[in-house]
């Protein structure tokens, strides 16, 4: 299992996430301020969906009077199960929020059974 925080001693931040789901899709929103489209890498490898984001906002190396922001790059890994359609994943990055939509396979959706 890879260590998301301390891999290669490089500090990474796990972005806060909000996940919602209904019968046909899973919607995950990750907060990654400072990341541009170019600095974003999303990969699906087997059952793992990984998201890497490089912060592109310049971090000044001068005197900090207040320092609350984290300046690390982002890394997050999700385990996705068989019900997720691997080809039906879409991503959108707006105002520092990455929105992932994962479609649920037709076969995994609940079906209504009519009584004949």
């Amino acid at each position: 299992m890879d260590n998301t925080i301390a891999r290669n001693e490089r500090r990474l931040m796990v972005p806060p996430v909000r996940i919602m789901e209904d019968e046909s899709e899973v919607l995950a929103q990750l907060e990654m301020p400072g990341v541009t489209r170019e600095g974003l890498e999303i990969k699906v490898d087997g059952n793992t969906l990984t998201i890497d984001g490089k912060r592109s906002d310049e971090v000044p190396s001068v005197k900090y009077l207040i320092r609350e922001r984290r300046h690390e790059d982002y890394h997050k890994a999700f385990t996705i199960d068989e019900s997720v359609d691997r080809d039906g994943i879409s991503a959108d990055l707006v105002d520092g929020v990455l929105t992932l939509r994962l479609k649920v396979k037709e076969a995994a959706k609940p079906r209504k059974i009519t009584v004949g």
Partner: protein, 157 residues
């Protein structure tokens, strides 16, 4: 425990950052000992759960306020300055749950926020510039001429 690492870092970084580094070292040691635990959490114990995180930076010519505001639209952002007090107001939005769409996990917050920063006296509130991009707000405030660090050559007679 990797004490050597902790000590070296402490020497390198300014006092205010020691706490973060100490926490990170602690966490890393913990993870080394117990393996990586996939705990559903934000990345640190002291992370911000209810408001935007900001940095206040003093440079030679300007003062910089940086705020992480993911999910805030530019139109929903309001900046004002009164004396030396800079106020950042806004509303943070994510996709909303619906009747059929339920929230299954949440590690963040949504809604309106207001944050006031006391700028140093060297700030010139008449010269201010704000830029919002990729979820990060960057406010640049010029420094007063008289407060800029200046090398003055003194001739020796």
């Amino acid at each position: 425990m990797d004490h050597a690492n902790l000590v070296t870092r402490r020497r390198e970084s300014p006092a205010a950052l020691d706490l973060w580094d100490a926490f990170d070292d602690l966490r890393r040691d913990f993870e080394r000992s117990f393996g990586a635990l996939d705990v559903p959490s934000v990345s640190g114990l002291l992370d911000w759960p209810t408001g935007p995180a900001i940095d206040l930076v003093e440079g030679d010519d300007e003062i910089l306020v940086l705020a992480d505001l993911p999910g805030v639209r530019k139109e929903n952002l309001e900046l004002s300055i009164q004396g030396n007090l800079l106020t950042i107001k806004g509303e943070k939005k994510l996709e909303e749950p619906t009747k059929s769409r339920k929230v299954v996990r949440t590690e963040t917050w949504v809604g309106s926020f207001s944050r006031t920063v006391n700028l140093p006296d060297s700030a010139n509130p008449d010269k201010i510039e704000a830029l919002y991009r990729d979820g990060v707000l960057r406010v640049r405030i010029a420094k007063r001429e008289e407060s800029k660090r200046r090398a003055v050559r003194i001739s020796v007679k």
